[in-house]
Amino acid sequence: MKKALRFIVTLGLVAAGGLVAVAQATNYSLWINGRTGGGQVGIHADFSYWGPATTAAGVNKKSVNWDGYNRISTTNGNVRDALDCYCTGPNWCYVAAHSAGNLQIGYALALYGTSTRSVKTPTPNSAGQCGNSGTGTQTGWNIKWVDVAGGAAGGSELADAGDWALGEPLVSDLKTSTARALYNHNATTGKWFYMFAGAKGTLYSFVLPGQDDEVVAYHSSGGVSGSSGASFCNPSDWLCNDLNLGTAANQGGRTKWSYHTVAFRDSTEQYDHYARGNWAGIVSRVRADMAAYAQ
């Protein structure tokens, strides 16, 4: 009788432990918007910036909304809150970022990626903040990899040239010299950034060097290290250095930021910068990638 009881107790404990583990370990897909914003800050189910929320965009997708207007430093707390919510304890995240969202995740990882984080329960309040789970702290966040569409971590010459409103706080951060000095872009704490670079830009081709998606040039969307101003193009353009796929240095020798790899180069110039609230432009490539591989 005692043996049977012990067996049942053991079975129960194992099962209960399994229940806890099953219930807690979850993967999430975090989407970090760019300039202009659109989704309600703190409401992670609001995908207004991106497109229909019913569209597949990775497992357990969450929209990490920030206002897309103010400085990276004053809005990065929204991103860190979401990372704390979904990417601590037993939970892991895939991250997708668009445009200035690239600056947001890069800033968070480079400056706070080695800090001590309280493990949270992934049920945010209306401000997008989660309560402590009571299971302690950990170093950094649990992030598997990062997909970036039209990344603006290298800034945009549209901010340099004064074509955007110079009084807009975010535009100051998107100035190429400022964006590249904001943090060490190589410091991703070992997480890989998959860069998706669009090239269907015509309107500002006399401002944006090399190939562009009408907002950012390849030097930024391709994660090219060093100062801005250099031109990078598709291989079909013989008058301009190639933006090489993968992690290889570009034609002419300019390297990419460490842990950055060009996953998609728009060789047929089909993708511009704009999501259009419908998962459009270069965002469509990242959405497909997330839907397939962020699981």
């Binding site: 410091a187 070992g190 990638d289 839907a291 591989y293």
Partner: protein, 414 residues
């Protein structure tokens, strides 16, 4: 009563445990079902919008699944091939994450091989950029000319300055005449506020003054020093706007400096070193006036001047005298076999203010050699890889992802 109570308690416990087991089994079944469903949905979705950056599924099928063991129909075979392709890329991605992280995590975050940070080797070199000469909103730019600029730095505190230079060249790099018709220094006022400082006209010259190193060389120079130019009580972006002219072609350019009048800490003289099997640590001393998170970085070269490491500190510090530890990890020394003594140079630091703008208060730069270490035998350092809870957590998770993808591929067969 006293004898029956424990028995009842035991029975209740057994009931609770059995309920737990049943709930767990139910949850397992639900999760497994949800997982299968999710996979099916994912496959359908990725078929609807295939990823071109990586090989993906190539077709869709709504054919009913054949019973286990039955030969697959052509549609079934296509579906399986599609799933294999999907899982192969998932496996590739998982392996890259695992291998990449494992390679990166040989060394701790605060002690990195310098080749991983190519744009951090010479941190105090001016930012050099090149752009078109044009007006904002103008539909075109001056043809055949390039505006080359340098900016000494973007973030300053106290009385620090930033030197700006401009040259205009043709496509062959020959200097062209450039005139600055107006240069104003002004604060960038937050949208909901009014300006608290007055605009200041700035001297931009090629006459050998105000930071211009060589008179008449065709390089125009301006010196931004907010603390001495009327912005000493302002914290934020100070902007230098310039209106330019080349042979009647107008142009506009601006330079931003993020300025904080505060003083976060002062450097104290001397660098201490401490060596052990784990590596060689440099301790840079400071008197901290404002407590908070400090970010400090330095470069370490070997005796031949070969860059070896980017060493960093990122942590909370209290007020008072402190030492920032900048470690050269033992395995990094063993792997790169530098010639001793090692040299610590070009240290920069700031107080990082969360959720604020400006988000940092810079400490004065420490350019050049700060410290030359003693010499140590390479064998005195450990060749062991970095170990930490974070590293183990990541390797376990990424390893699990690889194993899962491999298992899926095995299940799907050749």
């Amino acid at each position: 009563m006293r004898r029956r109570a424990p028995a009842r308690g035991r029975a209740a416990g057994v009931l609770v445990l059995l309920s737990g087991a049943a709930a767990a089994l139910l949850m397992w079944w639900w999760q497994a079902r949800a997982g299968l469903e999710r996979e099916r949905v994912t496959l359908a979705q990725s078929v609807a919008a295939p990823s071109a950056g990586t090989p993906g599924p190539a077709g869709a099928s709504s054919a009913p699944r054949p019973p286990p063991g039955a030969p697959l129909s052509p549609l079934g075979q296509a579906e399986r091939a599609e799933q294999r392709a999907l899982w192969q890329v998932r496996l590739d991605r998982a392996r890259q994450a695992l291998d990449g992280y494992r390679a990166a995590a040989q060394y701790p975050h605060e002690s990195r091989p310098i080749e991983e940070h190519p744009d951090q080797v010479r941190p105090f070199e001016p930012i050099a950029e090149e752009r078109a000469l044009r007006m904002p909103g103008g539909g075109s730019a001056a043809q055949g000319v390039r505006l080359r600029t340098t900016q000494e730095r973007v973030f300053v505190s106290g009385m620090e300055s930033s030197r700006i230079t401009l040259t205009l060249t043709d496509e062959a790099g020959r200097l062209l005449p450039l005139r600055v018709t107006r240069a104003m220094l002004k604060e960038v006022t937050a949208p909901d506020q009014t300006a608290r400082t007055a605009e200041v006209a700035l001297d931009v010259n090629d006459a050998g003054r105000q930071g211009d190193t060589v008179a008449g060389d065709g390089t125009l120079t301006a010196l931004m020093q907010p603390g001495a130019q009327g912005f000493g009580s302002f914290a934020g972006t100070v902007r230098l706007e310039m209106y330019l002219d080349h042979a009647g072609q107008p142009g506009f350019i601006y330079f931003d400096l993020v300025y904080s009048p505060e003083q976060a800490a002062t450097w104290l003289p001397g660098v201490r070193e401490a060596a052990g099997p784990g590596g060689l640590d440099f301790f840079v001393k400071a008197q901290v006036l404002l407590p908070g998170r400090y970010v400090v970085s330095g470069r370490v070269d070997d005796n031949r001047g070969r860059p070896l490491a980017l060493v960093q500190f990122n942590g909370e510090v209290g007020k008072g005298e402190t030492e920032f530890r900048l470690p050269v990890f033992g395995k990094l020394i063993r792997d790169r076999q530098p010639e001793f003594p090692l040299v610590l140079r070009d240290v920069e630091a700031f107080l990082l203010k969360p959720d604020a703008f400006p988000d940092r208060v810079m400490l004065p730069r420490l350019p050049g050699v700060l410290h030359r270490s003693r010499s140590y035998a390479l064998a005195s350092f450990s060749a062991a890889e970095w170990d930490s809870e974070e590293r183990r957590r990541y390797l376990a998770e990424f390893g699990k992802d690889v194993a899962e993808a491999e298992q899926k591929l095995r299940q799907l067969g050749p």
